[in-house]
């Protein structure tokens, strides 16, 4: 059977309005034969109707009526393709200033961030913003595609110049793995097939990179964390005393027989069994969804956490966050919000706004306390009950939160624990 052992890689794309992001995705899908005839025909006839020359591959990703009318991407769109090596999920996010929130959303689950640079323009404000967001959201791998190489005569000099400029800027960021690829999304150079026009470039094509980049260490396998999501109690004769704690492993490896500590009670117990619908398993690791049974009869519920005795998260009501504000209504200093963290849901109050960060320059502004849509800031909050948190840098699952406005029920911010 075809690629049953393939891994899943999630990547996010960001680019300015005109640097060819949708075209690049269209190219990846088209050249990897992931576009179907009827989709291609529909796009072709839509391009003709709109009086465009050639087939506009961008129309493959711009799905909503308003987007087609305005020729822009409004929302995060998810695209799928597979090669014999891997299955890919693309979070395609719009690039204009007002949509930082979508970029953050797309970046939150990505293994790889793909940043596009127009070879004629070099590193511009938007490039910097995308890289800063990728670094804030701790995307493990960053690929800088220097696009439209056809328009600069495939110049190595131009490529090296942009690369040096980007590297200099990136030295201030928290990113460790950057790869540069010269491409032309329009003509397909170095996207799927190696280009004849860039003889001086010895690196991989974009698809080859995506197929081979090492993502096995992207999860945290050291700090054991198991947030209880749901308690399974069958109440039938066969499973009379069954009390299983269902959830998804958020970090580390949990094994049958492990001594564990329960939060918030601090009680100790031992893992009696790790259960799944396919039978018992010996150990569980991220991102498996399993059901844990404990030796002792304790009363755990949703929001509690199972951890190792000698390694536990910070248990605190005072939490420092980097947040991205999502809503038109500005954040209220001393305002109260619902906060969601793993499977916990409590209330919090915003105690302080330390500084706002300029996503184009990394400049910290300590005077401006007005947090508007798409702003990024460092804040302090106090919660009504303790949360069990890790630094986002250590664990993206136990280090992330969202804030909800209790009046409108809207998700108003995403936060990362410092």
């Amino acid at each position: 059977m075809k690629n049953l052992s393939s891994e899943l890689l999630r990547f996010t794309t960001a680019g300015s309005v005109d640097d060819g992001k949708s075209t690049l995705i269209g190219r990846l899908l088209y050249d990897s034969k992931s576009i179907f005839e009827d989709q291609y025909e529909a796009v072709k006839s839509a391009s003709e109707r709109r009086g465009e020359e050639g087939v506009n591959l961008a129309l493959l990703t711009d799905g909503l009526r308003a987007e087609r009318e305005q020729g822009i991407t409004i929302d995060v769109a998810y695209r799928y393709f597979a090669t014999p090596k891997r299955k890919f999920i693309i979070a395609d996010t719009p690039g204009h200033t007002q949509y930082t929130r979508n970029m953050v959303t797309g970046a939150s689950t990505a293994n790889v961030a793909l940043v596009l640079v127009d070879a004629r323009q070099g590193v511009v404000e938007q490039t910097r913003r995308h890289a800063i967001i990728a670094s804030l959201l701790q995307i493990p791998h960053l690929v800088v595609c220097i696009n439209k190489m056809d328009l600069v005569d495939y110049s190595q000099e131009k490529y090296e110049e942009i690369r040096a400029e980007f590297e200099q800027f990136a030295s201030k960021l928290d990113v460790h793995d950057i790869t540069f690829i010269p491409i032309s999304a329009l003509n397909g150079d170095n996207v799927v097939d190696r280009s004849q026009n860039t003889g001086w470039y010895e690196g991989a094509t974009l698809l080859y990179y995506l197929e081979h980049v090492h993502i096995g260490s992207d999860h945290n396998f050291i700090y054991a964390r198991f947030p209880v999501q749901y308690v399974i109690r069958p109440y039938n004769d066969e499973f009379h005393d069954y009390r299983g704690y269902a959830g998804r492993v958020a970090g580390g490896v949990l094994k049958k027989g492990d001594k564990v500590m329960l939060l918030p009670s601090g009680f100790s117990s031992t893992i009696e069994k790790i259960d799944t619908a396919d039978g018992e398993i010996e150990e569980a690791f991220p991102p498996l969804a399993v059901t844990i049974l404990l030796k002792d009869d304790l009363d755990l519920s949703r929001g509690d956490m199972i951890v190792r005795e000698n390694n536990h998260p910070t248990v605190s009501q005072d939490i420092e966050l980097m947040i991205c504000w999502f809503h038109e209504r500005p954040m209220q200093l001393h305002g109260k919000y619902e906060i969601r963290h793993t499977t916990q849901s409590v209330r919090c109050i915003v105690q302080d706004i330390q500084y706002k960060m300029d996503v184009n320059t990394l400049h910290r502004n300590q005077e401006d306390k007005m947090l508007k849509m798409n702003d990024i800031a460092r804040i302090s909050i106090r919660t009504t009950k303790p949360l069990f948190v890790d630094a986002y840098r250590k664990n993206r699952t136990t280090g992330s939160v969202i804030l909800i406005d209790e009046g409108t029920n809207e998700t108003v911010a995403a936060g990362m624990v410092i």
Partner: protein, 300 residues
Amino acid sequence: MNYRLNHLRELESESIFILREVAAQFDNPVLLFSGGKDSILVSYLAKKAFYPARMPFPLLHIDTGHNFTETIDYRDRWVKDIGARLLIGSVQEAIDRGLVTEEKGYNASRNFLQTAVLLEALEKGKFDAAIGGARRDEEKARAKERFFSHRDEFGQWDPKNQRPELWNLFNGRKHFGEHFRVFPISNWTELDVWQYLAQEHVPLPGLYFAHRRKVFFRDGILMADSEFIPKRPEEKVAEMTVRCRTIGDVTCTGVWESIAATIEDIIEEVAASRKTERGGRTDDKRSETAMEDRKKDGYF
């Protein structure tokens, strides 16, 4: 020990997480069941998610009355197999009492009438979350859909004002009278679904496998001959070996020529296919944004 999951296990684990999240965040969820492979998959995953307990929500089938007979036989057997409770919302009954009006003409379909019947069933049952089997790879409007998709009190979707969804943190908060649609298999592709159903040996409706059937061509699409579809004089019925790639109601489900007789054959066929599965759905062809327009009104 190698702590890696293959893509099917990772997708399974994500879907199970979402299904448990629905049970935890909502008071009265329901799982929309059509009898197609996607809703079979979702109900199968729901059984797994709550094992060894029973799934904590019923299945709801919006029945147009224009079914392939095989669909109903399969449905009743499957519901028994997985130990679920089944509710039925009948389009025929809604037509009889005047909630909706039947379309007329050769292309008449009850597909569009399902929306009103579905919304009424959700309201009557006081359901606050309707779990569906939609996938983002199916259609361009669905590519922008959230896992937890908020609907206003009229059941409408506002694609330009969706809640951002980050990490694994899902916001199911709502006002009284509103509900959510939840799509646990958003990230699965058609090929993933088939590979997984094969791997798990899930029994499937015979319609998916190649069989002899009376069919005719309409607007380039091969349709099953049925008493529910009036034929134009020039449309000639012939017997061919065909299978369904999606299963909806008879009036809007195209069939196609195929000799794929086993699930392994189907996987081969899907992997090599150059046409999308919804290419045979006449309901999507009414305009460039037909799906978005229907979804805004509260369609599946």
